[in-house]
């Protein structure tokens, strides 16, 4: 097996705050091949965005401890110098942020912001960069790109801003694209268009994509592999079909169970996961999900509250971090997945 394009090993990110140490990511590992898409799912505060920022090296080094290993094409990003990272950012690896209005500079035209990245990494002239910006805007489907290139972000609609953001991220044909909830603020139609756009671009350039979202519908649409995060750790991973069709972890069951279904009966209430996301300042002992887990008491010896379950890998990257036995999971999943009549 050849080395993966992006390899994250035992990533730990902690912030020192006035209240104490916040362990936002606590031992995360994953691989990503060129041309494929990894979907990272999890609720707010599960460490998804923190992971992304760590890959790009955008954490403030003074207040953040980042440990582990992030290899991009064999190069360790965590030991790279700031200058080396500046050469990679926007060029080899780039990022699409969630809120395009806040993430685009209000003071510069869309064309300038796209061209700026291009000029920085290719040394192109102002004129060439502008031509490239127009081309990128056309490619992401902005009508009249040669006119809109001189607009400011506030003159764009929400969907167009997100497209401009994508154009900016793709202007140097990056090999790794990190999309941090790129469609969350958009309506479903625009969302679908953006997803199609990303898929087209991936086919064209063989880009590896890390797609972060809390929307399982989006994951089902775009991801090859799925990684479910909870409280800064990976609780389950596998291919899209494995995770969505035969989920193994009670948290994933909970996520799927809280989704409305189009083909099920309409009078079945949604079943949300009880409780709140864990505090990363004082995370629960043992399995971080155990205070909210309906099955914690089924595990012998109350190990859920004391031992942190390791991520058991059973071939092909399939893994689950749970103390339940394989038989128990099969039994409970069937129960859980069957809608309870009211």
């Amino acid at each position: 097996m050849n080395t993966p394009f992006l390899s994250v090993r035992d990533l730990r990110v902690a912030f020192s705050t006035e209240d104490g140490l916040v362990r936002a990511v606590d031992g995360l590992s994953f691989d990503l091949e060129q041309g494929s898409t990894l979907g990272i799912v999890g609720e707010s505060g599960s460490g998804k965005s923190v992971t992304n920022l760590a890959i790009l090296g955008l954490h403030d080094r003074e207040h953040t401890d980042v440990d582990g290993e992030i290899l991009l094409d064999g190069k360790d990003l965590l030991t790279a110098t700031e200058r080396e990272l500046e050469r990679l950012r926007g060029n080899t690896m780039s990022m699409i942020f969630q809120d395009a209005l806040a993430s685009l500079s209000p003071f510069h035209t869309v064309g300038r912001q796209i061209g700026e990245t291009y000029r920085k990494h290719t040394g192109a002239s102002r004129h060439e960069a502008r031509a490239r910006s127009v081309e990128m805007l056309r490619r992401v489907g902005i009508p009249q790109p040669d006119l809109r290139v001189d607009d400011y972000p506030h003159q764009f609609s929400g969907g167009m801003r997100q497209r401009a953001m994508i154009a900016m991220a793709l202007v140097c044909d990056p090999e790794l694209l990190i999309a941090d909830e790129p469609t969350t603020a958009l309506d479903v139609t625009v969302q679908a268009q953006i997803m199609d756009l990303l898929k087209d671009l991936q086919q064209e350039f063989g880009t590896a994509i890390v797609f972060v979202t809390h929307d399982l519908g989006v994951i089902a649409n775009i991801a090859d592999d799925v990684l479910v995060m909870y409280g800064g750790r990976c609780v389950e991973r596998g291919t899209r079909n494995q995770v969505l069709r035969t989920p193994q972890h009670p948290y994933t069951w909970g996520l799927l169970g809280s989704m409305p279904s189009l083909d099920g009966p309409v009078d079945v209430p949604l079943s949300p996961i009880p409780g709140l996301p864990p505090s990363l300042l004082n995370p629960p002992s043992g399995c971080r999900f155990h205070p909210r887990c309906a099955f914690a008491e089924k595990v012998h010896g109350g190990r859920c509250a004391t031992d942190s379950p390791p991520l058991e890998i059973n071939g092909g990257g399939r893994g689950t971090a749970c103390h339940l036995t394989a038989e128990q999971r099969r039994e409970f999943f069937v129960d859980y997945a069957t809608p309870q009549p009211n």
Partner: protein, 327 residues
């Protein structure tokens, strides 16, 4: 941008018109003979008659104001005193001179004082504020914010006098402030004469700009678009000046404009403290002499300074932030 400026200028003219009318009315509702007042302290019966005639006291108030207003745009003849060319802001019977001439004589001093000190406090205030924001070191932060509190509590008539006593008279470090022939006549004397007032004014203003620059920058440095700029591979320096500083500038420019407008309107106490003869000293003289036409002119000058400063601020703000241009 052009339409924006035209609109703002028209608005400003309207404001000045209202202020002049209000000031005009105030003089005439005062319970005293306006001609007697305008005539000044050393008033002879002959001059009083002349004043009475030239002010058109027997006319109704709106007509008098109308005459004054026409004078501003078309000039005005004063019987026995000569012609006052447009823009004629009135005639100072005490000084035997049109009001505008008195003001334009004094304005360079006030302008030099205001702009000079603004340069000093902007350079130092914004500079230290930037350092404080980048380092975000606690020591410098705390020094800056307490210094700002002390700075804004200082009074010019104390600091100015103390500074003059020690820095000029005792230790001979800085020349004593004095009026000069102006920048164009003798730049050296101009600089020496104003150095101490600049520094003292800057002492009072600098810390405030440090604090403001720091807090604005700390806020804009945490903006999402600054993070995006870093994610594009731009260097820290580029990100700082092209994005973060751009976002922080607006509020600083606003306050700066108001401060300069205020200083241009006549730093009365400052000029009095340092014995400089600018607009501030002129307004004190106008009050002492009961010189109403001059006082009207000085009030209008101060108002115009603030109004113009506001237009400049708005224009600069629109240049900085394209979102403003729509409004």
């Amino acid at each position: 941008m052009f339409r924006f400026l035209v609109r703002r200028t028209l608005g400003a003219l309207l404001i000045l018109l209202i202020i002049s009318a209000l000031t005009f009315v105030l003089f005439y509702v005062a319970p005293r003979d306006p001609a007697r007042a305008a005539c000044g302290k050393l008033c002879t019966p002959q001059t009083l008659a002349l004043v009475r005639h030239n002010l058109g006291i027997s006319d109704p108030l709106p007509v008098q104001y109308w005459h004054w207003l026409v004078g501003v745009f078309a000039g005005r003849d004063y019987t026995g005193l000569g012609h006052c060319p447009a823009p004629c802001l009135g005639y100072s019977f005490t000084n035997h001179e049109p009001v505008l001439g008195l003001i334009t004589d004094r304005f360079p001093t006030t302008l030099s004082l205001s702009i000079g000190s603004a340069v000093v406090f902007v350079v130092f205030g914004v500079g230290t504020g930037m350092i404080a924001a980048v380092k975000q070191g606690r020591a410098l932060d705390k020094i800056a914010s307490s210094a700002s509190l002390v700075g804004s509590s200082l009074q010019i008539y104390i600091v100015g006098v103390v500074a003059m006593y020690y820095l000029s008279d005792e230790w001979h470090l800085l020349p004593r402030p004095q009026d000069s022939a102006g920048f164009t006549q003798d730049p050296g004397a101009w600089f020496k004469g104003l150095l101490l007032p600049w520094l003292v004014l800057a002492l009072i203003f600098t810390a405030n700009y440090t604090r403001m620059t720091r807090s604005q920058l700390v806020e804009s440095l945490s903006e999402d678009y600054v993070r995006t700029a870093r994610a594009k591979g731009l260097s820290r320096r580029t990100v700082f000046f092209r994005f973060a500083w751009r976002g922080a500038m607006g509020p600083i420019v606003t306050i700066l404009g108001l401060d300069i407008g205020y200083l241009l309107g006549g730093a009365i106490i400052t000029e009095e403290t340092f014995g400089l003869h600018g607009i501030g000293a002129l307004s004190i003289k106008a009050v002492r002499d009961n010189d109403l036409p001059l006082l009207l002119g000085v009030v209008l000058t101060a108002a115009a300074a603030i109004v113009v400063a506001n237009i400049v601020v708005d224009a600069v703000y629109a240049l900085i932030d394209p979102r403003i241009r729509l409004a």
